[in-house]
Amino acid sequence: MKTEPVISVSALDLYYGEFQALKQVPMEVKGRHITALIGPSGCGKSTLLRALNRMNDLIAGVRVSGSILLEGRDIYAPGTDVCLLRKRVGMVFQRPNPFPLSIYDNVAFGLRVAGMRDGNAVEEIVERSLKAAWLWDQLKDKLGQSALELPLDQQQRLCVARLLAVEPEVILMDEPCSALDPIATARIEELMLDLKAKYTIVIVTHNMQQAARISDYSGYMLLGEMIEFGATAGIFTSPKDKRTQDYVSGRYG
């Protein structure tokens, strides 16, 4: 019965001051699938992604119109609890950004933010989250160590773990591998495929092989427009739009 999209975006316009960064963008994110956003630099992928958990609200002068429905509810409707929204729709950033706290405190952060005081429960969830991000075996003996001392790919997986701890429904990832080497990238990709069983993932990537490898649906964006959106296989093998074809075959620009 997973036919309803978890997120459905329609006619989304977004302005940074006078500049229109998104133009009438549509998108449907299916639950427990990976949706990839591809397109050249500056086309609005990050902007669209950050609209999904309202991180753009932090930038002065941003205006949004159109609608983004999360399980049928408009997330830009007045009275929306943005903190709750961001718990349901979590985000992993391009550069790993663990807090300058211990590994344990990083993962427990979201729980403490949510007001969880029961130490045992926190401990349990920290362990479960680190396991889910494939970090538990390496890190279980040094949970008190500063997270900033970890290698980058572990930092990035720690950021995933810290997100999993708050049990989001959707995970947004903005070029999560761009700061990582190929081996670390492969590990994060495997992790994403593993997480797909429980979570809905939207990923922005510059790497077309990556999109082809891991995503179920893809959207190709250009200059703020969604040129083509559909099943990844279709986008990469039989794109309907000439511009998509040029891009996926590497003839762009």
């Binding site: 903190c83 718990k87 807090f99």
Partner: protein
């Protein structure tokens, strides 16, 4: 010709720089030379931990002044540190950047207000108010703490603001993206990330409060007595030097230099700790 000119300029500058450093060193050496022998003559116990200060009678205990300096400095920190850190957080997190660019230099300018002006305010406004509402003479530990607490605000705010401003935005975004409120992101992440800078600002402020003289003489009451309440008048180490120097000769004069040595050492230690916490933070980045 031109080359010669450059050489002359170079040597002139070197001489100036050298004499500046040398004169500072000489002052330090002089203070120690005058003060240290005294400490050994009288004995550290009878100097630092005796309660009678009566140079006429050969009694040189500065313990009441040490206690007074500690109380007044701690009091100033109790007032100045929270206010200053709160101000720095407010400036960074809740004030628009353009406004901040005006407010911060303004606050730093406050550091230039002569201390006698603060002291005057204390005498005219604060001390009478304390006398009326809490009793005692008004000139007191409390009055000195409040005045000093305000005087150190520019130091605390300025250095803490820089420390908080240097916290990468990605930490804030990370916290907000996990559903933290603005305030939670401030106290759970930003303050922790800026911790060493904030601590350094407080330690530097402590050094300033401990060393301040004019304002303290004006508002602290200057009685040589171990205080029992915040409304008691006290005499700090710095005030003691300033008040007694006019008629100090012989041993009394040496005692004042020895008091200077105590202040010198404590403030050097505070500044050293502050500098090394700031440096430590830079190294870790």
């Amino acid at each position: 010709m031109n080359l010669n000119g450059e050489k002359i300029a170079k040597y002139a500058l070197m001489t100036v720089a050298f004499s500046a450093v040398a004169s500072l060193l000489l002052i330090a050496v002089f203070i120690f030379k005058e003060g240290l022998p005294f400490m050994f003559k009288v004995g550290l116990r009878d100097f630092l931990f005796a309660s009678d200060w009566d140079p006429m009678a050969g009694k040189y205990g500065i313990y009441p002044m040490i206690v007074a300096s500690l109380w007044v400095t701690l009091g100033a920190m109790l007032i100045g540190a929270p206010l200053g850190v709160a101000g720095a957080i407010f400036l960074n997190e809740f004030v628009p950047k353009p406004v901040m660019r005006v407010i911060k230099p303004t606050i730093e300018l406050l550091a230039g207000i002569p201390s006698v002006v603060f002291g005057f305010l204390g005498v005219m406004v604060l001390a009478p108010w304390i006398r009326a509402t809490m009793g005692g003479p008004g000139l007191s530990v409390l009055a000195a703490s409040v005045i000093l607490g305000i005087m150190v605000l520019p130091t605390v705010i300025s250095i803490s603001t820089d420390a908080i401003g240097a916290v990468p935005n990605s930490y804030r975004e990370g916290a907000l993206a996990l559903g933290a409120t603005r305030w939670q992101s401030v106290y759970m992440v930003t303050i922790k990330a800026a911790r060493s800078g904030i601590i350094a600002s407080i330690i530097l402020a402590m050094g300033r409060a401990l060393g301040e003289t004019m304002a303290v003489i004006m508002v602290a009451g200057n009685t040589v007595k171990i205080p029992h309440s915040v409304t008691d008048p006290v005499r700090t180490l710095t005030a003691n030097i300033a008040l007694e120097m006019a008629n100090a000769t012989g041993m009394a004069r040496e005692a004042l230099f020895a008091t200077g040595v105590v202040l010198f050492v404590v403030i050097m230690i505070l500044n050293g700790v502050a500098l090394s916490t700031i440096k430590g933070r830079v190294r870790r980045k």
